[in-house]
């Protein structure tokens, strides 16, 4: 990761944008104690540590942040949020940063695309295969009903999920 920054690449509006979002509104409370990073089970593998992510948002280093590997290494275990003495909802913030990364057209991990596709097609993240349906039948479990996906498709069309699926 680049540790020097060209000032022309700094986003002056990024911090405010994030603060306005539902996921980012607790951000400004951070005082950089690093409790999040020392609690995180994957921090040692991350190119940018959780507490650094917060500071980077404050500094407007959007370009570097949305391209980092760490964004997709977060397991959303909420340990950071649980232990934060300032009540920063960091796990949600990271989910929000993924959203920003996707909006910038940076990375779409294949699994995210697949999840969106499954949701759009079946109304579930994981739909049972025929083999699993037969297995349930043998166990005398009720069959899994299919879902009316009309409302889901409507939602997809109105959100960024449509861009991921390239249906817009």
């Amino acid at each position: 990761m680049e540790r020097t920054t060209n000032l022309s690449k700094v986003s002056r509006t990024f911090f405010e944008e994030v603060m306005k979002s539902h996921m980012g509104r607790t951000l400004s409370c951070c005082y950089q104690c690093g409790t999040c990073s020392s609690s995180c089970p994957v921090a040692e593998e991350m190119d940018i540590k959780p507490h650094e992510m917060v500071e980077m948002i404050k500094l407007g280093l959007k370009n570097t942040l949305v391209r980092c590997k760490a964004l997709w290494q977060c397991s959303t275990c909420y340990m950071c949020t649980e232990r934060c003495p300032q009540g920063v909802k960091l796990a949600s913030l990271i989910l929000g940063m993924r959203d920003v990364a996707l909006r910038e057209g940076i990375v779409v991990p294949r699994s995210v695309e697949e999840s969106c596709k499954n949701l759009n097609d079946t109304g579930r993240l994981i739909a049972p295969s025929r083999f699993q349906m037969e297995k349930r039948l043998k166990l005398k479990l009720p069959s899994v009903p299919s879902i009316d996906t009309e409302s889901i498709k409507g939602m997809v069309n109105k959100t960024r999920v449509a861009d991921i699926l390239k249906v817009r």
């Binding site: 979002s21 089970p41 994957v42 397991s75 166990l139 899994v144 879902i147 889901i152 959100t159 999920v161």
Partner: protein, 293 residues
């Protein structure tokens, strides 16, 4: 009172033993359920990563469906669903602007209005709080375990206050431990108990996910546990279905049985191995049967 039963996609599509054992024990405990398997996705992390608003609208849709059916509580098997619903309930209230957006998205696409206030429970809470461990021990449990040591894993999205906003305790909820101890099982101390299992990043970073899973399994193993007890279908998948993959990646042998709490409870309530689907666990869990009284 009836609960809306929302098992979650993983229990429905990949882990029939969870659905099976849960339905078996609920029937015996006279827990009345209205099946909500026809409700759509709860709006979990992969959807939250793309569009948080849509994820919340999905959660609200399921809650609105329950509301329409006149149900005041949803019971789920999956902590991810649990956390999504709880977060939607709190988020829509707390952030009015966001709540309005989500409600508009929901009403304009699904034609549903969510008034708010549908309660959400994990099956463990129904058993632990609504029925109560005392009554459970007195009226339903007919046999127990002796000498079995378990590494209890409560699952992040269930046991962390910040993931679900329900006050079961910080970081490490004792709820599952108490249930397990009530069955005569010793809940051992293990160093990485409150750590993540690694399942959520399986699709993004397989090596890292296996590394985490390996650390957890190793920690459970050295604590002297005979098995891991879980309540989350994804943690169960990671520890059980993926154990052999993790073993290869980290070059260690664990052969540690992983059982769902519904399977353990079912066994103690008199169901046999088949009725709780023990044979469907990938790592053979037969060894724990030797500890049954």
């Amino acid at each position: 009172m009836s609960y809306g039963y929302y098992p979650g996609c993983y229990a429905l599509a990949r882990m029939p033993q969870y659905d099976l054992s849960a339905r078996s024990i609920m029937r015996k405990l006279d827990v009345e359920i209205i099946d909500m398997s026809d409700a759509p996705c709860c709006g979990p992390a992969p959807i939250k990563s793309v569009d948080y608003r849509m994820a919340s609208a999905l959660s609200a849709q399921v809650l609105a469906m329950a509301e329409k059916k006149g149900l005041d509580t949803i019971v789920t098997l999956c902590p991810e669903c649990f956390s999504s619903f709880m977060k939607a309930n709190v988020g829509l209230e707390e952030d009015a602007g966001f709540g309005k957006e989500v409600k508009h998205l929901l009403s304009s696409t699904a034609g549903l209005d969510y008034q708010g206030g549908v309660k959400v429970k994990h099956l463990l809470q129904v058993i632990h709080d609504d029925i109560g461990l005392k009554k459970l021990r007195k009226d339903y449990i007919i046999r127990g375990f002796e000498g079995l040591k378990a590494a209890v894993h409560s699952g992040c999205h269930f046991s962390r206050f910040s993931a679900s906003y329900h006050p079961v305790g910080l970081e490490d909820s004792r709820m599952l431990d108490e249930l397990v101890e009530g069955l005569g099982i010793e809940s051992v101390y293990w160093q990485l108990k409150s750590w993540c299992c690694g399942a959520p990043i399986l699709a993004f970073d397989r090596d890292l996910s296996c590394k985490l899973g390996g650390k957890k399994l190793q920690s459970a193993k050295v604590s002297g546990a005979d098995c891991i007890v879980s309540l989350c279908p994804y943690c169960q998948m990671q520890f059980d279905y993926n154990q052999s993959i993790i073993e290869k990646k980290v070059d260690k042998r664990f052969t540690l049985p992983v059982v769902l709490f519904t399977q353990l409870l079912g066994l103690c309530m008199g169901f046999d191995k088949k009725e709780v689907g023990l044979g469907m666990n990938r790592v053979s869990a037969d060894a724990i049967l030797d500890f049954m009284e």
